[in-house]
């Protein structure tokens, strides 16, 4: 049984973290980072799968290693690289390896990554992937054939971008995801509590827990990049200005303080946080402490 599911169903505030696997088989440093900064602190650990279409060791293998090491992984499955046979088969493989949480994603287009000439698959998308998971949980595959043992304890999640403009298409798709079987949401990075509150007013009617996405803004260059390149994410001046004025050595502490304040503002509006540290895992314990979610 997924501990993340248990916590959210019991109405407990849940915090999840994230790991980005390396390009290659040297996973020691990543596992060490997980042991030192995430273990015992977060309920679940997302493992990205070829993020931004950049080839890396896959989520399935790392999730299995995390299970062995006593973590509860959240297996991210994008639809970019595998057709419905491969994805169903991987979900079953993950289940026998002890993986219970899945995050269903459409995935980035291959042209954005490091193998831009790759064929894109997208046989399924986030909604049809959630439908696939629900079908498997009910003991059938997509062809309607009976499974010999169903992965009935999978806890299926999805993503949403509350800062998208317009936001209505996001809400329409969120509704489709819930109907297809999404049991929790992790959002894109949020920096505007007012906008998020407005979003949650509508989204709460889906009665599905939402973990607000937290990405630590490390400095003004990162903020500028996110504002220009990351869809639906807007870092306000109230975060950029103090970071620009601070000296480089003071930035990490300031960044954590700014994020902790944001998290305190967001906490009453959501059911959890999903912290994407992006190389700053060492600051996660301090951040959680200061935000009052340790």
């Amino acid at each position: 049984m997924s501990k993340l599911k248990q916590a959210l169903e019991a109405g407990n505030f849940a915090v999840t973290g994230e790991l980005g696997p390396p390009k290659g088989v040297e996973i020691g440093p990543m596992m060490e980072e997980a042991e030192k900064f995430l273990k015992g602190r977060v309920l679940g650990v997302n493992v990205t799968d070829n993020p931004s279409s950049v080839m890396r060791i896959g989520s399935l293998g790392i999730c299995a290693r995390l299970v062995q090491a006593g973590f509860e992984p959240i297996y991210q499955i994008p639809c970019r690289d595998r057709n419905r046979l491969a994805i169903q088969s991987d979900i079953l493989s993950g289940y026998v390896l002890g993986i219970r949480n899945i995050l269903a994603l459409t995935g980035d287009h291959p042209s954005l990554g490091d193998h831009p000439g790759a064929k894109c698959v997208f046989d399924l998308d986030s909604v049809s992937l959630l439908h696939t998971i629900s079908t498997l949980k009910n003991g059938k595959d997509l062809s309607g054939a009976d499974l010999v043992g169903s992965p009935k304890d999978i806890f299926a999640g999805a993503t949403v971008t509350p800062g998208a403009d317009p936001v209505e298409p996001q809400l329409l798709k969120m509704e489709k995801k819930v109907e297809a079987g999404a049991e929790f949401f992790q959002t894109q990075a949020i920096y505007d509590p007012d906008k998020f509150e407005k979003f949650m007013k509508t989204a709460s009617r889906f009665k599905t827990p939402v973990l607000a996405g937290i990405v630590i803004v490390k400095g003004p260059a990162m903020a500028k990049y996110m504002n220009e390149k990351v869809p639906g994410v807007f870092v306000p001046d109230s975060i950029i200005k103090p970071l620009s004025e601070a000296g480089k050595e003071d930035r990490p502490k300031l960044a954590i303080d700014l994020m902790a304040k944001l998290m305190k503002d967001l906490k009453p509006m959501c059911q959890g946080f999903h912290i994407m540290a992006m190389g700053w895992a060492k600051y996660v314990p301090d951040l959680m402490q200061k935000a009052g979610v340790a």
Binding site: L112, D125, S128, P166, E168, P169, K176
Partner: protein, 234 residues
């Protein structure tokens, strides 16, 4: 030749269920060759629709629905009848349905399914393309094709990569699902998003050898006149 075949009458009645006044527009090109269109089919459709309680506000053939200038010029003469219509039933390939949707602000609904011919677009010069998926969904998407216009051919709405209405693949390219959302919102048909099939059946995209023989698929290859052997090359 863009090979297209009639959708079953039951499906047509279903996709027309929300519309009372129907304008029937036929293409006089490929559907004639495929025997999926032409004046006789338009008259049959008109009779069937009237029988099922619809009002047919007009019926029109245009030689090639993929010819932008021709479509524009000929539809312009029929604006009064179009104003009395709630939807246009287009008897053509997917290009013709999208061409109609791009030029008139009425729901354009496909009467036919287009079979895959690997890239033939007729004479249509604009961004509307038909991939011949074999199971036309244009009645649900405001006449904008998600298969050809979305970089990922998604069926369930925009992905997380869309920004300011543009696609993540090219910043100048419109996000197909943003266009579909805006169009359906303008038509008051956002509910259509819930009616889309979750999964695509790729068998409809593969054309069997049998079908290639049954339809007029290979018309271009048919030798209509063969010179007598005695008159062969010197």
């Amino acid at each position: 030749m863009i090979v297209n075949v009639p959708k079953p009458m039951e499906e047509l009645k279903e996709l027309l269920s929300d519309y009372q006044g129907v304008y029937i527009l036929g293409c006089g090109g490929c559907p004639i060759g495929c025997e999926s269109g032409g004046r006789a089919r338009l008259e049959d459709l008109k009779a069937e629709l009237i029988k099922s309680g619809k009002k047919v506000s007009g019926i029109q053939m245009i030689d090639f629905l993929c010819n932008k200038a021709l479509v524009g010029a000929q539809l312009r003469c029929r604006i009064p009848a179009l104003k009395n219509s709630n939807a246009v039933l287009v008897v053509s390939c997917g290009v013709g349905v999208q061409a109609t949707a791009a030029m008139i602000d009425l729901p354009s609904l496909p009467a036919n399914n287009t079979l895959n011919s690997q890239g033939m677009q007729g004479l249509w010069p604009s961004v509307e393309r038909c991939d011949g998926c074999g199971d036309c969904l244009l009645h649900l998407t405001g006449g904008i094709c998600p298969i050809t216009r979305c970089a990922k051919s998604l069926l369930n709405g925009q992905c997380g990569g869309t920004q300011d209405g543009k696609c993540e693949v090219e910043t100048q390219r419109d996000c197909a699902w943003h266009l579909i959302y805006e169009k359906l919102k303008a038509l008051g048909k956002l509910d259509n998003l819930k009616k889309l099939p979750k999964l695509r059946d790729y068998r409809n995209w593969e054309v069997s050898d049998q079908e290639r023989k049954n339809t007029r698929w290979a018309l271009e290859e048919e030798q209509l006149y063969r010179a007598p052997k005695s008159a062969g090359r010197q």
